[in-house]
């Protein structure tokens, strides 16, 4: 009779436990890795991955995901060029190391792969990027004209590229300021763009230097390319400080003169009275002796 009662319970357990376990496995989110390539001033190259996942119906950045970067392919462990972990913004960045040079020089086109390791909450993720090697150079011409030229590697020759959107402007804190009313210029058949610099009295450094920038952003073929050039087209900045000025918020010994005059006058006046009274005690003693 008792055994009879346990049979339905066993059936329930056998039926639902695997589905519960399955449900727990399904709860892991898939990881979306977006890989980007950056050529900085034709000197350094770096890769950045952005990890995202659909959480609560919205794509959100994912921090703390260990990632591995590969050049060409992730099939060969020798192609590993760096590792990292996504930060609070879901990003991880590596510079392409000199050790990857031989692989880099093999072809005018280059593939990169990023692999995100599986964690408790996320599945393993994978992202790929294919670029054509290109470079941009910014220069100036007479009459405050900014010129930029883009060339891409075709077979073994650097060839000008037409029809690429280039941002031309001045590097400022937190972004690029337009050189004039237009922000983006498409390259012509010679791979060049020309922009007139119309920013008068733009504050530069102490020598009046500003940094001109030509940049290609998130191009499907070439990635992100940036070139910078320092020119003395700004106004000289004079370093202003009120560190030595007398004020109520200044440091010790730099209080306003009126405050010093007032405070010291009061202190001197009151303590003169105290000293006068101490002298009176002395006079009392003298009178006592007499």
């Amino acid at each position: 009779m008792r055994k009879h009662k346990l049979i339905p319970l066993l059936i329930l357990i056998i039926t639902f436990v695997p589905s519960i376990l399955m449900a727990q496995a399904v709860e892991k989110n898939s990881l979306l890795l977006t890989l980007k390539y950056y050529n900085d001033n034709n000197v350094t190259h770096h890769l950045m991955v952005l990890a995202k996942s659909k959480i609560d119906g919205k794509f959100q950045t994912v921090p703390n995901i260990p990632v591995k970067f590969y050049i060409s392919s992730d099939a060969d462990k020798a192609n590993l060029i760096g590792t990292g972990k996504t930060d609070d913004r879901g990003q991880a960045v590596i510079e392409i190391p000199p050790s990857a040079k031989s692989e880099w020089l093999k072809s005018p086109n280059q593939n990169f792969v990023v692999v995100g390791e599986a964690t408790k909450k996320f599945d393993e993720g994978r992202g790929e990027l294919a670029i054509t090697k290109a470079k941009i150079k910014v220069d100036t011409a007479e009459g405050r004209i900014i010129q930029a030229k883009i060339v891409a590697l075709v077979d073994t020759t650097w060839t000008p590229i037409a029809g690429v959107d280039v941002i031309v402007g001045v590097k400022r804190l937190g972004g690029i300021l337009n050189a004039n009313e237009t922000q983006t210029y498409p390259t012509d058949s010679s791979g060049a763009v020309t922009a007139e610099f119309k920013r008068d009295s733009l504050p530069g450094d102490q020598k009046g230097n500003i940094i001109l920038v030509a940049s290609v952003v998130d191009n499907d073929n070439y990635g992100n390319l940036t070139s910078e050039l320092v020119v003395p087209w700004g106004t000289k900045s004079v370093y202003m400080t009120n560190f030595d000025h007398r004020s109520l918020f200044a440091r010790r010994g730099h209080s306003p003169l009126w405050l010093e005059l007032l405070a010291y006058s009061i202190v001197v006046a009151v303590w003169s009275v105290i000293i006068f009274l101490l002298v009176q005690i002395k006079n009392l003693k003298k009178l006592g002796v007499e």
């Binding site: 010790r252 209080s255 009151v270 009176q280 006079n283 009392l284 006592g288």
Partner: protein
Amino acid sequence: MEKLAENKIIEDLLPQKFGKQGQIWVVCLLAVCALGCYAYCRQLYYGLEVTALRDYASWGIYISNFVFFVAISLVGSLITAVLRLTDVHWSTPLTRIAEIIAVSAISFAGLIIIVDMGRPDRFYNLFTHGRLQSPIIWDVIVITTYLFISLLLLYFPLLPDLKIMIGFKERNGKWLQKLYEFLGSFWKNKPEQFKITDKAINILSVTIIPVAFAIHTVTSWLFATTYRPGWDSTNFGAYFISGAFLVGAGGVLIAMYVFRTHYKLEKYITDDHFDKMSKVVVLLALVYLYFNINEFLVPAFKMKKSEEEHLMGLFTGEFSPIFWFAISASMLVPILILIFKKGRKPKWAFFAGILVVVGSWFKRFLIVTPTLLHPFLPMHDVPKSYTTYIPTWEEWAIAGGSLAGALLVITFFARIFPIIPIHETIIETDSHEKA
């Protein structure tokens, strides 16, 4: 006949040895002080970690105690200077009581600030690195000045009494005799000497009033120059001074009753003194109540979003029991007691004085701490202990020790010196009889 009366006054007012009650009182105070010292040693060893002071409530009962001490010290200027300059003679027996309260309170105000610093070895930095623009430096200057002036105001009227006490060599004992001679052997009751002391006392009476106002105004500026809910007020100087006079007068009522009953001074501290002093307390309580209404009603009427949490915390929130107790005990109930003639009798006046002093201590706590716990920017990602302030036993012990220390100074002073000016009482009795 005159000589007899004079001898009787001297006999009544000369300092007396501690009786059994006095000894128990002193032992109790010493025990509290010792516990405070032990707690302070722990604080020195372990740092301010032993206190409940954290990032937000960085000023707790130490600073409340400091403000309380500064406040009660103002009574010296009220009784001695204001009443003397306005030619009010009934306060003569109370002047020394008021002055010793002032001296002991201001001394411990200075000490408790050092306790709050956590690192007393850095005290000298206040002088080597202090900024003249900071109200903290003004406070250091004005407290030192006030202490000196109060000591002088205590000392000058004491000189004729020292001469009297030096005459009782056998009664004094060796050490006290030496002390009296050191302090006043040069006093010969010469008219020129009286002329100098009278002039000195008048000068001191005039000087101490602005200094006393400055000391508590500057203390109020420690808060009012900081942009925080509850402190951002142009009313603070007057608000603090009126409160200070009230707590000081309450303290005098207590001291009057204790000295009167313990030393049997009913002939010198009479019912009339209680009556008059009680009326002063009622007046001061009404003035302080007026400033409180200004301080709380006007911001409450506007109820700015940034101040709402602070004000509601006081009116109906976590601090409301202390807030309403402080308002009732320090102002409303004493007014209700002392406004009636029967309430101005010594026992009721003593009770009202206790209410004023205790209520005022909590009022200082409410000025200091709730503001710190309600910053303009909400607290985020902080440990729970940062969001509240419940003083640790070390803080209570140190605060209690400092209060006991101040009482001990007053107690020992009353043991060594006459608590009612002998010479002035004789003079006033003579002139009264002649009139």
